[in-house]
Chain length 364, copies 2
Amino acid sequence: MVSESEIGAAVAEKKAKRESFGGWEYVRLLHDWQGWPRGTILAEGRVIPGYPKIGRVQTLVGIPALFHAPFWAEEKVDGYNVRLFRAGDSLYAATRGGLICPFTTDRLADLIDPALFSAHPELILCGEVTGPETPYIEGTSPLVAEGVGFFLFDLMRQGVEGFLSIEEKSSLARSFRLPTVPAYGWIDPKDLGAFREIVRQLDEQGREGVVLKENSPRSFRVKYVTGSAELADIASMTQRYLDVPPEYFTERVLRLALFLEDMEATDREGWSRRLGEAFLTALRERIGSARRGQCVGSFRCRFHSRENALRLLDSLAQIRGHEGETRLVDLRAEEGFWVLRFEKLYRSTSGFLRNALGGSLRFD
Amino acid sequence: MVSESEIGAAVAEKKAKRESFGGWEYVRLLHDWQGWPRGTILAEGRVIPGYPKIGRVQTLVGIPALFHAPFWAEEKVDGYNVRLFRAGDSLYAATRGGLICPFTTDRLADLIDPALFSAHPELILCGEVTGPETPYIEGTSPLVAEGVGFFLFDLMRQGVEGFLSIEEKSSLARSFRLPTVPAYGWIDPKDLGAFREIVRQLDEQGREGVVLKENSPRSFRVKYVTGSAELADIASMTQRYLDVPPEYFTERVLRLALFLEDMEATDREGWSRRLGEAFLTALRERIGSARRGQCVGSFRCRFHSRENALRLLDSLAQIRGHEGETRLVDLRAEEGFWVLRFEKLYRSTSGFLRNALGGSLRFD
C-alpha cells in the first residue's frame, strides 16, 4: 500500500505522472520507484505492477550458464505488451508505460472473457496484442491473420510483486478459456539441441522467438529472438527509416549475425539476400511514396465506442515511439463498429527523400 | 596575410591549434575562420588553404538543375585527402584536418617528382593517397594493387583562395609527370545519359565515383558516388562495427537505394545479396576474431625514416576517426625501408562481441 503523500512526492520529483481515462484518475510510474518498475499504475490504493524488463540472452551458450533449473519455453509473440485489470466496476488495458490504451480497453471483452474478473477481481492478465488492426504495429504476426488477438503470457495480482506460477496460470487459462501464447514445455538448460530445434521451427515460420522461464523461486526469465524476427523488424521500420534511431537497424543486423552463428546456418547466401531485401525493398517503396507525396503509415482500427477512437488519437502523442504527427483520415460506423482510419506522417523520412529526389546537394 | 596577433586570438578561441612537426611549428584551423576553411595551415606568414568540402548530389536529377555550364568529370578515388606543399626547404603533406602526416610526408618523393616545387614553390598539390600500405585505410582501391599511390585532383597556390583552372592543372601535370585522377572529359549537364554511362562503368569496376567540376568562375563542384562504393564502405567499416556511429551504415544503405533508382537497376536480387553480404561476411569474420581474442585492424606501412614511423604512431591519436587504441607490432629495417606494423584495437566491437559470445544477458 502506497500512501497518497508518497505518490504526491513521486509526482513532484517527476518519477510519476497523473493521468486520467474517462473519469478514472491514476498515477503511472515514469521510472522505477520504491521497488515498483516503470509503468506501474497507482490508483485508489491499488497497485498494478509494471511488467518488468526481460533480458536478452545473446547467444545460446548463455542458456546453460544462466539457468539453474529447467525452464518453461513460451513463444514470444510480436505485438505490444498490455496488462488487463479491473478497477471498481471497470476493466482497463494498460500499455507497458502505464497509460490506459483506449483501443485495447475498448476491445477488451473481445479479447478475453471478462467473467474471469468477476471470479478473480485482483488478477492482472499480462499478454501481447497483435494483428493487422492495431494502432501501434504496421507488420502483422503470422499468428493473427485478421483483426486483433490477445495472447496471455503471465498473471499477476494487484499489489503483489511477481507472477503466479506456470501451473496456476495454466489452470486459470484453461478454466476461463484464455488465449495463451503457444508453449513448448519444460526444457533442461543443458539440452541445447531441443531448444535450438524449437527456435529453428519458429524462425522458419517467421515467428519472433521464445521466452524462457525458470522453474524456481527467483522467477528468472530471458528472451531469445529469431533471425526472421530481426529481418521483419528491419523491413517494417525501414518504412520510417529516418524517423527511427539508426542503432535500431545496426543492432538488429548484429543480432542476426549472432543468430546465424548460433544456428550454424548454412544458407548464408539466402540470409544475405533476405537482409539486403529487408532494407532495399522497403526503401524502394518509400522512395516511390516520397515521389508521389509523403511517407506515411496507414492504420485501421475498429472500436465499440466512438469516444475511445477519439481518445486513441489524443493518446498516441504520449506513447513512446509514436510521437509523430497523426492525421485522422476517417471515422465512421461500419457493420456494428466505429472504424477509425488514421495516418502517421514520417516527417524525417519524407523530408530527406523529397530533398534527395529533388536533386539537392548534401554536405556530409 | 594573417597577422600573428590574429592567429593568437584564433588559438585562444579554440578555432585554431598550434602544432609542430620535427622542428617546424605551424597553426591549423579547427573551424572555418576569416574565410579560410577548416584544415588551413598558417605558418611563417604563409597560408596553405584547407581543402573545401564538396557537396554530394543525391540523385542524377540534381545535375541539370545545379550546373550552369559543362562540367569536367574526374574520378573520385577512394583514399585519404592530402595537400603537398613546400615550406622553406622542406616538403610536407597535410591531412584534411591540417595535421602534417608523418607517413605521407616521409614518402612524398615516392609519390611525385619534387622537382615541381623547385620550379613552383608556391604550388599546393591536392590529391588522394590510396593503396594497401597506408596507415588509414583498411580496404584498397582497385587503382593501386600494392604499396601506395597518389592521384592529383587539384592545384592551389599558397595564400590564394580557389583552384588553378583545369587547363593549368593538366599542363603542369603533364610537364612534371604528376599522377592524376582518371578524367572523363567535358560533359553537358543536360546529357545525363553520358554521365550515367561513366558512373555505370566505374560502379562495375568497384570504383568510388565522380567529382563534377563546372567550367565557370564560381568553381562549382559536386560529387556522385557509386553503389559499389557504398557496399565497400559498409563491408570495410563493419570490421569495426560498434566503433563507428550507427548512421555511418544506415546513411550508406539509403544512398545505395537512391543509387539503384538513379541507375534503374534491374538486378535487385543481386544488389540485395551484396548488401546483406557486406554486413554479414564482415560480422562473421569479426565474431571469429572475438572468439579468438580481440577485434583489431592490422596495418603495414613502409618509411624512409624510422623517426617518421614513430611520429605516425604518436599522431594517430589526434586524427579524426583514428582515435582508438593503437599498438606497435613491429618496426624493423627491410629491403631499404623501415617497415612499421601496427594494430588498431576496436574496443567496443571486441567488448560487445566477447560479452555476447560469453552468453551474457542484455537489457535493450
